[in-house]
Amino acid sequence: MTASAVATKPAATNRGMALPSARRLLLWTGLAVLIAWVLVPIYLVALGAFGGRLGVFRWPKSIWPSDLSFAAMSQFLAIEGVFNALVNSLIAAGLTVVFSIALGAPAGYALARYSFRGQNAYRLLVLLTRAFPLAILALPLTVSFIRLGLYDTPFGVSLIHTVLALPFAALVTQSLFMGIPREYEEAAWVFGCTRFQAFVKVILPLALPGLAATAIFAFVISWNEVFAASILTVRERTLTAYLLRILAESPLHYRFAGGFILIIPSVLFIFAVRRYLFAVWGIASK
């Protein structure tokens, strides 16, 4: 029995609209093509990253890995500025997580639990951010950031990244809190909690997985952002800004090493939040 035949069996029994096997074959062929379409470029950039100088210029290339080594990768990391850029990226992304949760989650809680005047105006402000190319707003900020000493710091970069992540965090946490019945909180109040105690003891533990997913999204948003990070830094570049700057003059295998480092956390993060992906985007795109 082939793998696809195994897969069809339960489907045929528990679904009314079972597909005939020819169409099932077609479906899996199509999906195989799509999966390859997603994975092959990642595989190839990995080969480029670990193939070294020789691998990159070998001609013609083989799609099978040969003479792989960490040499290229460790050389890349040893380049002046790369490690620093990596650290800056982590700091900026970490701060973006902190800011967007710290600012967005209370707003999400307010939207979920209270009805108040100005609620719709706030929602409009949040939605308005989506109609604008936000990273472009980094342009005028250069001047004020220089004046405030925020220019060329991961902190400054994280501020503009928070503008990107905050509306998202507010909308997602809103639905997160809406999903936690109000009665839990009321029960906690009745049984002796203050508002704050009720939040910490009852709401927070229940919201934690969702908050973690929101945090991961905020991290990825910041980690991946190129334009604003490039505009707002010169020496203290983030990894994306650094790679963009050296694109023209650096050898190919360094570019691939950089690309590979950029991709890895994303893949892991998407895996970590895959359960929330659709819920989160279903909400955030309303």
């Binding site: 897969a7 339960p10 489907a11 679904r15 199509g30 999906l31 999966i35 379409w37 997603v38 994975l39 470029p41 190839l44 950039v45 480029g48 990159v56 070998r58 013609p60 083989s62 967005g104 707003a107 307010a110 939207l111 209270y114 108040f116 609620q119 706030y122 402000l125 949040v126 951010t129 109609a131 604008f132 190319p133 472009i136 342009l139 005028p140 501020l159 503009i160 928070t162 503008v163 109040w189 990825v220 190129v226 334009f227 994306t240 790679l243 694109l247 023209a248 570019r255 691939f256 950089g258 690309g259 950029l262 991709i263 994303s266 998407i270 895996f271 895959r274 659709f278 985007w281 795109s285």
Partner: protein, 283 residues
């Protein structure tokens, strides 16, 4: 206690309002201000310089062309993917995870991944060579091959950003009760009819938000283009970056920014109007 309007919700939203005012609304106004001020008065000088630049017409043309090709293709591709995935029972989660991986990948990294494939001594050329179609390493990403470069960018954009459309559409599909399609089937609707008459109309709100999101991002496209072609393929955001960082001319960069924002807002307005759903039409 909870339903009563009080100061608490205002205290909760205040920090984010202040933040968004300072880092969203203020720079928005600043950008517009910067773009119309030159020397010591108001003028359209920055816009004149922008429009007079050699790359300007090309950047406008390229950005629009890229958006008009990429966004519809992404929607079609994502609809196809979503339809296929919803037919799966086993392995659905795994397939979805793989298909959504690009969601977390930056445009720069995506450009680099496709560079590995498409560069002179890359895998595409190796394959073509093995098939005897080319004699040796061939350049696809230079100024001399604008069409090939364009297609390379389209491929990389499709690869990277179809996932977000897919996720939004699947989230939307999950909200459509199965009974509608089943009812249509009982009344004799064929799969294609069910798709066009039932699924698509009910999916309109999701399509709308996917289109708005993708179009706004497409007009911002920048890093993919740079990773693949450098400045060989000028786009609006790239020009803004060059004027700001290389030419240190903030006024012209701001003019570009205002132009991108104006186009984005116009596109959003069009989508909101064309794809509007009346509340009574929702299930």
């Amino acid at each position: 206690m909870p339903a009563r309007p009080s100061w608490i919700p205002y205290a909760l939203i205040a920090p984010s309002v202040v933040f968004l005012a300072a880092l969203f609304l203020v720079p928005l106004v600043q950008t517009i201000w910067l773009s119309v001020s030159a020397g010591d008065g108001l003028s359209l000088e920055n816009y004149r310089r922008m429009a007079g630049d050699l790359n300007f017409a090309l950047a406008v043309k390229n950005t629009f062309l890229l958006t008009l090709v990429v966004v519809p293709l992404q929607v079609v591709l994502a609809l196809g993917m979503a339809t296929m995935v919803t037919k799966l029972d086993k392995g659905r989660d795994l397939v979805l995870w793989v298909l959504t991986i690009p969601l977390g990948i930056s445009d720069l990294a995506a450009g680099l991944a496709w560079l590995a494939l498409l560069q002179n001594t890359g895998y595409l050329n190796s394959a073509l060579y093995a098939l005897g179609l080319i004699q040796g390493p061939t350049g696809w990403l230079s100024q001399e091959t604008p069409v090939a470069l364009f297609f390379a960018i389209v491929l990389a954009e499709l690869w990277r950003a179809t996932a977000i459309v897919l996720v939004i559409l699947i989230a939307g599909l999950q909200l459509i009760p199965k009974e509608f399609a089943e009812a249509a089937e009982i009344f004799g609707a064929k799969p294609w009819t069910r798709f066009t008459r039932i699924t698509l109309p009910l999916l309109k709100p999701s399509l709308q938000s996917a289109l708005i999101l993708r179009t706004v991002l497409a007009f911002e496209v920048f890093a993919v283009v740079y990773a693949l072609g450098g400045r060989n393929f000028p786009v609006l955001a790239g020009e803004a970056y060059v004027w700001q960082n290389d030419n240190q001319n903030y006024g012209v960069a701001a003019a570009y920014a205002v132009l991108i924002m104006a186009i984005s807002l116009a596109a959003t307005a069009v989508y909101l109007r064309v794809l509007r759903t009346r509340p009574e039409q929702l299930p």
